[in-house]
Symmetry: C2
Subunit: 294 residues, 2 copies
Amino acid sequence: MKGFAVMRIIRSVSSMQRLARRWQRQGVRVGLVPTMGYLHEGHLSLVRRARSLAGKLGKVVVSIYVNPTQFGPNEDFSRYPRDFARDTAMCRAAGVDVVFAPSNDQMYPADGERNFSTYVTEETLSRGMEGVTRPTHFRGVTTIVAKLFNIVQPGWAVFGAKDYQQAAIVRRMVRDLNFPLRIIVAPTLRESDGLAMSSRNKYLAGDLRLQARVLSNSLRKAQALVRESRSALGSTALKKELKRFIEREPAARLDYVEFFDPQTLIPMPKVTRGAHMALAVFVGKTRLLDNARL
Amino acid sequence: MKGFAVMRIIRSVSSMQRLARRWQRQGVRVGLVPTMGYLHEGHLSLVRRARSLAGKLGKVVVSIYVNPTQFGPNEDFSRYPRDFARDTAMCRAAGVDVVFAPSNDQMYPADGERNFSTYVTEETLSRGMEGVTRPTHFRGVTTIVAKLFNIVQPGWAVFGAKDYQQAAIVRRMVRDLNFPLRIIVAPTLRESDGLAMSSRNKYLAGDLRLQARVLSNSLRKAQALVRESRSALGSTALKKELKRFIEREPAARLDYVEFFDPQTLIPMPKVTRGAHMALAVFVGKTRLLDNARL
């Protein structure tokens, strides 16, 4: 009988990069699941996907890093939920080989006159939706993801579909900058009442948790409207109707809802089946996302 | 007796990436020399450096690609000198294993609504000097170099010291984005009269070629002034004096001259030994660069 494998926790970029190089030389297949920690079942479904792709001989790396550069100045970076002990226990149980959990000093050297100064930016897909409300967000995402790719050197990386625009931007970055790896997007996991799993759901106290169901409900409502309609629906009217629907919840405020081509993210003035819908809603002070194919 | 090795010419990103992956698995050491072609002795000195670092079992890749994104709209992209047959002959003679010479379609997919849209930008070192006259130049450089690193996956890459600011920016990018490789900067090669070797020297017809000596002469002049002076020299006065010196040549017009810390590129108001000097001078319509430690 084989003993259970030991999971390593790596905190330094150079150790992770040395291990990655060793794996490369040994021809070991490596999958990466980038996370900001505070793991939930949604993350674990990505880990399981990576685990099954890697097979018995391959390795799965989960990175846990709350990346400061993807938060705006008035966002929740400092209070973003963290529970490293619980995260590592969950990773161990899920058969993860390495948790890569660097410090900010490791990732963004602040070295006086030689401070960190290089960014990766995607300039087309990043403009709409999240990019409007969070203008520097995706620059932070593409930069940290590029760094993680160079540090872990995986053969593939798994992202969740809940952040649909993010996944599209990462795919574009991989194509444009020729990263030698594949991006896999795994489906959104939901609570039994439809709420998309998210670490930020922790913020939803009491009644806000119930009101948060309005995101998935509005996706279902739009699906029904599009499927029942005999002609394409005007996006402006549909947005108005959904805004009314969402803001009937007293603590809910629509940030945006958009209908777009699922490949190019280009907004569709006429909404038909096959269009993709994404929305961001403040429920109290918590900003939640969801999306689905219509 | 071993026959001479066959040099491969690779034109597609996917073929180059496949070969790079195979080398990685075999533990083969790979060095990259990125060039825009029209090779001269300066390039060959970089190739020889890469060859000697790679050893007999390692591989040397020379990329030949006139990268459109690093040229401004009014610059010499279309008339930049090209001679692929001569370049490949020189590479073969120098013991290069692979010439990677992609087309623009390969490097910058122009795919209707899915056009190339991801860039790498360095935001501190890029601001001064070349960055003033050529505001999008370094974005083009860091983007193409990041792509070449991901395509060739070298263990090191060799750059020429003639483009001093470029080499510093590439080094910073490698540090910041954690590219798993080393940057080597090899010294500038010069013609017998001191002119730094450059593919653009081809533009210098007749008397312009003689006037172009003023760049290296002004470096020597500054070195002499700094070494003879008993106290630090004010940079403003020194710039003025060098401008006068340079523009005594009828076709020469100073674009900039700068004195700076060789590590941080921060300008020095007081110039002492150990400062680095760089300058750009138009000689006729040709813009030439040079630099040296004072």
